[in-house]
């Protein structure tokens, strides 16, 4: 790795740290300012003022805010976000467990969106104006309009209950990843199809495609080798956006498939005012964003030689 590239990465990582610290401050303030006392929520209706006070004291919730924030920030640097108030487990462990689930589904979503989305987009561009193109665009519009949890339930019903070929819930087998990946990935596949189509049409209109044809290259080579390679660049940026959003988890689809992913972790945490969980999840999401942006930039440089040259200069 040459020096300039290293410098670039280090600079971005430093920026990332600044962003994350900023995020911790904002999250801390918001969570403590919002109404709702986690201990009161824990106690539900058994509201005994003395008990609540005592437990707040023991949990450190009565310390001045700046003390609480400093403790939190200090510990965050070593990855210790404290223990969940409700689940009594370290937030780090909950995040790891949630990430294992959400991350593995993310892979499935990525594969599905790429396979279906990009393929459909290329076909729509190649058969532009004809019935195949119209059909693909219609399905794509539907795909973007359907709510993911509704689609999830329908898939469960058709493939799980009626046809009995795929599991209705859980992630115990490889097959179990299929329905959640499709339910979550449909909207991305649909947008990817549109994006790919637009970029492919653009690329196919370029002069270098005419040059390729004038060399006697077959249509497949023209589409795949010449046009797609150029169209792929903005598509890759979109894939980065897709990863950012998927890695945050999706509470609705996770609920339908009874999966313990990061979406449920965060939403349950917010509803119950589980402050350590909320803080841990938000920092994780911010970190994912920052890292993915860095990765996209680096990959961009790898695949587009013009950008690589600009960076190196």
């Amino acid at each position: 790795m040459d020096f300039l590239l290293l410098k670039f990465i280090l600079n971005r990582l430093w920026q990332a740290v600044v962003v994350l610290v900023g995020v911790t401050l904002i999250v801390f303030v918001m969570v403590n300012v919002a109404p709702g006392d986690p201990v009161a929520v824990m106690m539900e209706k058994k509201a005994d003022a003395a008990t609540i006070e005592r437990i707040r004291q023991q949990m450190g919730l009565n310390d001045p805010l700046y003390v609480q924030y400093w403790t939190f920030l200090k510990n965050s640097f070593s990855g210790d976000f404290g223990n969940s108030y409700f689940q009594k487990l370290p937030v780090r462990a909950l995040l790891a467990r949630g990430f294992a689930v959400t991350g593995s589904i993310a892979v499935g979503v990525l594969l599905f969106s790429i396979a279906v989305g990009i393929l459909m987009g290329i076909l729509a561009a190649v058969f532009r104006g004809r019935s195949a193109d119209r059909l693909i665009m219609l399905v794509s519009t539907l795909g973007m309009a359907l709510p993911s949890f509704w689609l999830a339930i329908i898939l469960q019903l058709v493939f799980g209950l009626w046809l009995k070929v795929l599991p209705i819930s859980g992630l115990k087998s490889f097959k179990a990843y299929i329905l959640p990946s499709v339910a979550l990935g449909m909207i991305y596949a649909a947008s990817l199809a549109r994006l790919t189509r637009t970029n492919m049409l653009d690329a196919l209109n370029q002069d270098y495609v005419r040059t390729a044809r004038s060399k006697g290259a077959g249509e497949t080579a023209v589409v795949v080798v010449h046009a797609f390679r150029n169209a792929a660049i903005p598509i890759l940026t979109y894939l980065g956006t897709l990863m950012k959003s998927i890695l945050g988890g999706s509470v609705l689809v996770e609920t339908v498939f009874a999966i313990n992913g990061l979406g449920r972790l965060l939403v349950d945490g917010i509803m119950k005012r589980d402050i350590p969980v909320i803080q841990g999840c938000t920092i994780y999401i911010a970190a994912v964003f920052v890292l993915m942006n860095l990765v996209i930039d680096l990959v961009y440089g790898l695949i587009d030689p013009r950008i690589r040259a600009a960076k190196e200069s």
């Binding site: 002069d207 270098y208 040059t211 004038s214 060399k215 290259a217 010449h226 150029n230 030689p305 040259a309």
Partner: protein, 334 residues
């Protein structure tokens, strides 16, 4: 006896758009002999580029369509070939270089790999063999340090180098015909001369015929044996370059020659041809040039002239040279 390598007969290419039919090529005919250069000149919109694309069958369909005519190469009509057969012709028997080398080259692949593509398609060479061919070609077109440059990307080369690379791509499979569509228009004048010289040298070395399409009369004069003057989708004059340029028959050709700025002439203002090129979907009646012609007659306004052999020994499309109000063959109505 030198037979014709390329014979284009009455080629008609129209574009069917939402605004109407655009008659881009309307009954164009010409031929090129082996080892010969034919220059095609005309203003923008005259149809010269479309003529080149039609020969290669690279016209965008839809909306374009080669409606009628024949394109005979060594006697074989290219318009009747299947897709697969035509692909073997493109790059193999006929190659083309384009006006803008920056956009005509794929920015994400090295020039080496773009050159290698042709021999791998047409001669079935392996990667290593094709790479060797690529380096050879780079050397032939005069690019220094070809072993290093073969891995460069288009944006790393200057304009002149890129055009040389394009020529390398076009010639690496020894095509019989090289079509050059305004190859020097985007380049500096000094580089222009180098490129033209290169094309000439290679043409002689490889016995390639050349179709040189340009709006620059100077270029045509420099490299061609014959010249085709096109205006608004039709051929106006066709003959040997020396003859046409020293003694132009068609008023349009005359006007073009007069428009060329010459330092010795002492003129202070450039000669301008009045009017504008007509819209190809809404063409005037009679001779297409008559609205701008200094020598127009009554008949020019109503009847389209045919291409006839003028007394000077050239093909001309002008009522001035018709032996009478009617000529051989049918008369086109406007």
């Amino acid at each position: 006896m030198n037979t014709n390598l390329l014979d284009v007969k009455n080629l008609c290419t129209y574009f069917y758009t939402d605004e109407g039919v655009v008659y881009a090529l309307d009954g164009v005919s010409f031929s090129v002999k082996k080892g010969e250069t034919l220059g095609i000149v005309g203003e923008s919109g005259s149809g010269k580029s479309v003529a080149a694309l039609s020969v290669m069958r690279l016209v965008q369909t839809p909306p374009g369509k080669i409606v009628s005519g024949e394109v005979l190469m060594n006697g074989e009509n290219l318009l009747k070939l299947s897709g697969k057969e035509m692909r073997a012709v493109r790059g193999g028997k006929i190659a083309m270089i384009f006006q803008e080398p920056m956009t005509a080259l794929n920015p994400v692949y090295t020039i080496g790999s773009q050159i290698m593509e042709s021999p791998r398609i047409h001669r079935g060479l392996s990667r290593r063999q094709a790479r060797r061919v690529a380096i050879e070609m780079l050397e032939k077109v005069g690019i220094p340090l070809p072993e290093k440059r073969v891995d460069d990307y288009p944006h790393q080369l200057s304009g002149g180098m890129r055009q040389r690379a394009m020529i390398a791509i076009a010639l690496c499979c020894n095509p019989e015909l090289l079509i050059c569509d305004e190859p020097t228009t985007a380049l500096d004048v000094t580089i222009q001369a180098q490129i033209l010289e290169l094309i000439n040298d290679l043409k002689k070395e490889m016995n390639t015929s050349v179709l040189m399409i340009t709006h620059d009369l100077g270029v045509v004069a420099q490299v061609s044996e014959n010249v085709l003057v096109m205006y608004a989708s039709k051929v106006m004059e066709y003959g040997g370059v020396k003859e046409v340029f020293t003694d132009p028959c068609h008023p349009y050709t005359k006007a073009l020659l007069e428009s060329m700025p010459a330092v010795e002439s002492g003129r202070e203002r450039l000669h301008v041809i009045e009017g504008m090129v007509p819209s190809l979907s809404n063409r005037p009646e009679g001779c297409l040039f008559h609205p701008r012609c200094e020598r127009r007659m009554e008949i020019c306004k109503t009847l389209r002239p045919e291409l006839i052999m003028a007394p000077a020994g050239r093909w001309v499309r002008c009522w001035l040279y018709a032996s009478g109000p009617r000529t051989l063959g049918s008369i086109e109505r406007g």
